[in-house]
């Protein structure tokens, strides 16, 4: 990690890899399906402004996209698992996320407005949950994905409790 920031202490759950794999697969299917639609549309339209070398070989488009995209379906979940980490220490939430691009978030517990624990469809299947932390600003808000349900519940509760305590101190 070139940026002078140490890794947050905790990894997300290993099952998050499955979650990201499922999401990537759905994205892959949508993308290839969309490309196939575009190809059939251009193929059937007979537009004169489309160069003939393009309209003649338009059915290569979904194929090329599938071949280029397929490795990423496998790479993204593994890469994300290596990057996604979180930590709560010194009353600051420190989380890292992303894969190609990454993002570090620092949220002091004293500025937290709401903490939500959410579960999507797949997450419920896999026993995972997302903790959403919101402050008054989008740039001070974060969601930690792919946590084990138990861990997420405990984190959400700790945060809500501690935020309440700190706010009482402040007034």
């Amino acid at each position: 990690m070139p940026a002078p920031l140490r890794d947050p202490a905790n990894r997300v759950s290993r099952r998050a890899i499955t979650l990201w794999l499922l999401e990537a697969l759905i994205g892959f299917l949508l993308l290839v399906g969309g490309a196939a639609l575009v190809a059939s549309w251009i193929d059937g339209s007979g537009w004169s402004w489309v160069p003939s070398w393009l309209s003649g070989n338009i059915w290569w488009l979904p194929g090329v996209i599938a071949v280029v995209e397929l490795p990423f379906v496998v790479i993204e979940p593994l890469w994300r698992y290596a990057v996604h980490r979180w930590e709560l220490s010194g009353d600051v939430v420190y989380a890292r996320s992303g894969w190609f691009s990454r993002q570090w978030v620092f949220i002091p517990v004293s500025r937290i407005q709401t903490v939500d624990k959410e579960q999507g469809w797949f997450e419920r299947l896999l026993g995972l949950a997302t903790v959403e932390i919101r402050t008054a600003s989008y740039a001070g808000s974060s969601s930690i994905k792919g946590l084990d349900v138990g861990v997420a519940a405990r984190l959400a509760e700790d945060l809500a409790h501690r935020a309440h305590e700190l706010r009482d101190d402040a007034t």
Binding site: R6, S101, F106
Partner: protein, 518 residues
């Protein structure tokens, strides 16, 4: 939050202490009855068309006149009933707006939620010395969440604003001083504006600075907007006067066959741009004054509609200075306040129109607070990235155009790419960040360049972003999360070490534990 609920406390039975008079219980106030003179005039345009229709269809017979009269009387009556059934009142620590037209609805605005109070005087209102008060609660639900009192006598409006803001600051002990000056409390009585408030005028913008207006580019499209409005109106009203699409097409064809006329009209419009834009700008920003009244900053402006916006001082978190390209040439700038919970901050938070930049900085330092640190430049990799991003789209389009066999578009795209070189360099020169121990500042952009100065205590968190390309260049973007203004202010493409140290410098207790090797 505000709410529309069923039946609350009886009117008049609320706790005492309404309109600043210490211990007297006061009946709910009404808007000035003079609004009844304004309402029908305002409804006229929407009534005119149906009325004209009725008269034409009915052939000016007595019965059609009767129906037209009925419509007018009905609308006036409706306005009167609306007026009679609307009351407002400060009860304890909240403002209640009660409307009992069909069902009784009460909108309750807790005074502590009030972020700002606008007093505007549209032309008709000014005729009767009335004002519209808009109460901003900072609710994100849009205009519906806010309170509006349309038609309060102007002195009363000023006093009301003062009371609302004062109350919302929880400064009850000062209330007694106010009581002496404020006197009677019914809305009809014109009590003079309280003079007990300490007031200080920061700026009264001289009229000749209005000449800078067209540089901002605002209102430059006025002639086109006017023309578009006229054409729209012609189409809307045309059918009433026997104009049809066929006529419009004939006129269009006639013009098309006389291109000289078209070119002349176009030239006229373009020439009218700075003039009309300047006039509009002057009308909106006439006699712009910025003053401190009590604990609020009050910006007042406008020739026809006089608009006055009060921003509570303790909610102001900083300011933003913006300059377009032309404005930078002329060394002028615009100034906004960054205020927590103020929707539409670019219009409402405006502190100064286009004025010389040094002057704007001086006013900002005086009215809000100075920034005593120079901007630190970003690393040379940031310059390469700005250049690449400004030039690459043009080059890409040029290559694609050449491949597709459209040489002219390719040449055009190359010209655009060449223009990207000075743009990219300038965008790099704009980048910078600073921290002086109390306020942090970031600057970016070129065609509009804007610099934000934000108090340290307003920061609620940090986001550090690094795309794959940024990682290869060894730069990253640091965004300070702020619960005001646009929500986040970014230092774009700082060095990796530089950016993280910047955040750690502003809030060391949050970041220090996570910095490697410290």
């Amino acid at each position: 939050m505000t709410e529309d609920s069923g039946a609350p406390a009886e009117p008049g039975a609320g706790p005492p202490g309404v309109w600043g008079s210490g211990a007297v219980a006061v009946a709910p106030s009404r808007l000035s009855p003079l609004v009844l003179l304004i309402d029908p005039v305002r409804m006229l345009p929407s009534l005119l068309l149906p009325l004209v229709g009725v008269l034409f269809v009915g052939g000016f017979s007595p019965s059609s006149f009767f129906w037209a009269m009925l419509a007018i009387v009905g609308s006036v009556g409706y306005a009167a009933v609306r007026w009679a059934t609307f009351t407002f009142q400060i009860v304890g620590d909240r403002l209640e707006l009660t409307r009992s037209l069909v069902s009784r609805s009460v909108r309750t605005i807790p005074l502590e939620r009030i972020r700002g109070v606008d007093v505007t005087t549209p032309p008709l209102h000014r005729l009767f010395n009335l004002a519209v008060i808009r109460i901003d609660t900072g609710a994100s639900g849009g205009a519906k969440q806010e309170g509006e009192l349309d038609g309060v006598p102007l002195p009363e409006a000023e006093r009301l604003r003062h009371i609302l803001l004062r109350r919302s600051q929880d400064a009850r002990h000062e209330e007694h001083a106010e009581t002496a000056g404020a006197g009677s409390a019914s809305s009809g009585a014109r009590t003079p504006t309280s003079t007990a408030v300490d007031e200080r005028v920061y700026v009264r913008v001289p009229w000749y600075w209005l000449l800078y207006g067209p540089l901002s580019g605002a209102f430059l499209l006025t002639p086109f907007a006017l023309l578009g409005g006229a054409i729209g109106l012609a189409f809307q009203w045309g059918s009433e006067f026997g104009l049809s699409e066929r006529v419009a097409i004939t006129v269009g064809e006639w013009l098309w066959n006389r291109p000289i006329l078209l070119v002349l009209a176009g030239l006229l419009l373009v020439m009218a741009m700075p003039v009309a834009g300047g006039v509009m700008y002057a009308v909106f920003n006439w006699n712009f004054t910025l003053r401190r009244r009590g604990s609020s900053l009050v910006a007042e402006r406008g020739l026809v509609t006089r608009r006055s916006v009060a921003l509570e001082h303790r909610r102001i978190r900083g300011y933003e200075i913006a300059q377009g390209l032309l404005e930078r040439r002329a060394r002028v700038a615009r100034l906004w306040a960054i205020v927590t919970g103020l929707g539409d901050s670019r219009t409402r938070g405006q502190l100064l129109p286009v004025v010389p930049r040094d002057f704007a900085m001086k006013v900002a330092a005086e009215a809000i607070g100075p920034l005593d640190a120079g901007l630190r430049p970003h690393p040379p990799q940031a310059r390469q990235r700005r250049l690449f991003r400004a030039v690459a789209p043009g080059v890409a389009v040029a290559v694609a155009a050449v491949l597709l066999g459209w040489p002219w578009i390719g040449v055009l795209a190359l010209v655009v790419a060449a223009l990207g070189v000075p743009l990219g360099l300038d965008r790099y020169r704009s980048l910078g960040h600073a921290y002086d121990g109390a306020r942090l500042s970031v600057r970016s952009g070129s065609l509009p360049r804007s610099q934000a100065v934000v108090e340290r205590r307003a920061v609620v968190g940090w986001t550090v972003r690094q795309t794959w390309f940024q990682r290869r260049s060894g730069v990253l973007t640091v965004i300070a999360g702020v619960g005001a203004g646009s929500g986040g202010y970014a230092a774009i493409d700082t060095g990796e070490d530089q950016g993280v140290r910047f955040a750690a410098e502003v809030t060391p207790e949050w970041l220090a534990p996570f910095i490697a090797g410290s």
